[in-house]
């Protein structure tokens, strides 16, 4: 082996030639082949891979939609209808892209919930978690700007309402909004920049996802028990164990996705967005897409403009400090009898907010939104910090290889240990 060349272990001469000069095959083998992964993953651990696939589907369909879309206020709506009627398979791309956004949020919400339930945000994975929150914020911005592009009534008024959020900030608010619009209302300059940024941000997300994965491969994955990997007996190589397990999840994910696209493509959308944008008439009932409803409910729960905006942004920004708000050293909620139910209730509050966000801001919905908002923040700012001191966790298992799961009988020794020794 010459000096300066990587000592490749690949036998194939072509792969070996490339790998010696640029060890990308060695890297892939290390990070996705032999990568030691806790052997007790459940199906919640599919959702990172699903999110990655979803991002690639969105980028692929988005690039092809952009080939046919015209970002101009007089032509945008018609160009989308042309995609639906005239472009070969245009209907397919648009429905996959629109429902892909919903699938992306479903997948990512489950992914985030997984992180919260199994304590994946705790040391040493704080940065990994924070990068994930950045990805989520970028996703929200991308989804919002994408929804504006068809230039229907909900596009236009959604854009108006959301950009006006920034007018709540004292002194600089109005200037910020004018800057966002590029004018004195949501208009052609706004549509143009939203198209440009909607094209850009997915690639930014891709870059940040790379950082997310890079950080993950330093700390290694968390697992349903939330305890550290101690010996090689606790792990299996990523391939074929989790490539296979992820494949099962991918098939189910595609079934749900296809069900939406082919049988209910407009179920999650708002019919008002099939009316061309009209700057002179606001629809009577403005709602964002379902995945933004919880934050919309928080916004409306607060009877103060600035307060509502601050709490709405705060509801996600608080995730950044979650690793330090949760003072318990125990990661998995399986061993936290009180925190488990506190988190379940937080999930209920999230769903209640999602429900109320889609309802008119009056009567019982305002009351429910306020209660749920209160609990949403109380969970992070009061309950988790206190529970870390007050709660007595259940005894943790010695290791991943010696499960003490309820109801889980002894594993057949031969089936699990034999391949392990070889790995």
């Amino acid at each position: 082996m010459s000096i300066g060349l990587h000592n490749s272990e690949f036998k194939n001469p072509v792969i070996r030639w490339v790998d010696s000069r640029m060890p990308i095959f060695t890297m892939m083998q290390k990070e996705y082949g032999t990568f030691p992964t806790p052997k007790n993953f459940n199906y919640f651990w599919n959702f990172g891979a699903l999110a990655m696939i979803n991002l690639m589907i969105m980028i692929a369909t988005g690039i092809f939609l952009a080939m046919h879309y015209t970002p101009h206020v007089t032509m945008a709506f018609d160009s989308v209808e042309r995609i639906m009627r005239d472009v070969n398979y245009g209907w397919l791309f648009r429905y996959v892209h629109a429902n892909g956004a919903s699938m992306f949020f479903i997948v990512v919400y489950i992914h985030i919930w997984r992180g919260m339930y199994y304590g994946s945000y705790k040391a040493p994975r704080e940065l990994l978690w924070m990068i994930g929150v950045v990805i989520f914020l970028l996703m929200m911005a991308t989804a919002f700007m994408g929804y504006v592009l068809p230039w229907g009534q909900m596009s236009f008024w959604g854009a108006t309402v959301i950009t006006n959020l920034f007018s709540a900030f004292p002194y600089v608010g109005d200037s910020i909004v004018t800057l966002l619009w590029g004018g004195f209302s949501v208009d052609n300059p706004t549509l143009n920049r939203f198209f440009s940024l909607h094209f850009l941000l997915p690639f930014v997300i891709f870059g940040v996802v790379f950082l997310h994965v890079a950080a993950l491969h330093i700390t290694g994955s968390n697992n349903p028990l939330g305890i550290d990997v101690k010996t090689p007996q606790d792990t299996v190589p990523f391939h074929p164990y989790y490539t296979a397990k992820d494949s099962v999840g991918i098939v189910v994910y595609f079934m749900v996705f296809a069900g939406l696209v082919f049988f209910a493509p407009n179920y999650l959308g708002d019919p008002a967005n099939y009316i061309p944008a009209n700057p002179l008439v606001t629809p009577t009932h403005i709602v964002p897409e379902w995945y933004f409803l919880p934050y919309y409910a928080i916004l409306r729960a607060v009877p103060d403009k600035l307060g509502g905006v601050v709490l709405m942004f705060g509801s996600i920004l608080v995730w950044f400090i979650l690793p330090w708000l949760d003072t318990s050293p125990v990661r998995s909620m399986r061993f936290r009898p009180i925190a488990k139910w506190a988190l379940m209730l937080w999930g209920v509050a999230f769903v209640v907010l999602m429900y109320c966000g889609g309802k008119p801001p009056e009567g019982i919905y305002v009351v429910l939104s306020r209660l749920a908002t209160l609990y949403y923040f109380a969970y992070f700012l009061v309950i988790l910090p206190l529970l870390g001191r007050l709660e007595r966790p259940l005894p943790l298992p010695e290791s991943i290889a010696k499960p003490v799961l309820r109801g889980g009988g002894p594993l057949p020794a031969g089936a699990m240990t034999k391949p392990m020794e070889k790995a």
């Binding site: 009627r85 398979y89 034999k418």
Partner: protein, 192 residues
């Protein structure tokens, strides 16, 4: 990796050896890979297809024009499928020049009668795109250079076409294409 995990001797549910040394896992991997490849192909097809002309583009693929007002010796340029179509009302001298050419002289041998409609030899209809690299040849306007053969001359790389739109000199490999067209009346033409 995979061969690490394939059972080497140890009895294993997924890896019973057959007489020829293959295992059930080999079969499963092949079937899984095959289905994934078919799925990927099925997903690739709509993407490729979407880049072909959309239905509204195909719907615009005919052009009709009134040509009765074109005097002999003059030409008009129509637009069809986003490209220029030359319609020249040829003089008897031009028709004769085109008809009497020896086929052996031609790079892309084609009789003038094969490039015009019987009884309508005065009308030459050709796609005005040089067969070299796609420029529009000169020769439509009376002031244009028409090349050495009194047809068209492409200024990009110097191809000369005759009064039947056939390539006579220069780098272009083929004659100016004759589009599908029909006379809907004596003075009406439909291209496409």
């Amino acid at each position: 990796m995979a061969d690490n995990l394939a059972p080497a001797g140890a009895p294993h549910a997924a890896g019973e050896h057959h007489a020829d040394g293959t295992t059930k896992r080999d079969f499963l991997i092949l079937v899984t890979g095959g289905f994934a490849a078919i799925g990927a192909g099925a997903m690739a097809w709509p993407f490729i297809s979407s880049m072909n002309p959309a239905r509204d583009v195909l719907a615009l693929s005919t052009t009709e024009a009134e040509i009765g007002a074109i005097p002999a010796g003059a030409a008009v340029t129509l637009m069809w499928r986003g490209k220029p179509v030359f319609v020249r009302h040829r003089t008897p001298a031009e028709i004769e020049a085109a008809a009497k050419v020896d086929m052996g002289e031609l790079r892309d041998p084609q009789a003038d009668s094969a490039r015009t409609k019987a009884g309508k030899q005065q009308w030459l209809v050709v796609v005005g795109v040089c067969t070299h690299l796609g420029c529009v040849p000169l020769g439509q306007k009376p002031t244009d250079p028409r090349g050495e053969y009194n047809g068209w001359f492409c200024p990009c790389h110097g191809s000369h076409y005759d009064t039947s739109g056939r390539i006579r000199k220069g780098p272009a490999p083929a004659n100016l294409a004759v589009p599908t067209y029909a006379f809907t009346s004596d003075t009406q033409i439909r291209i496409g």
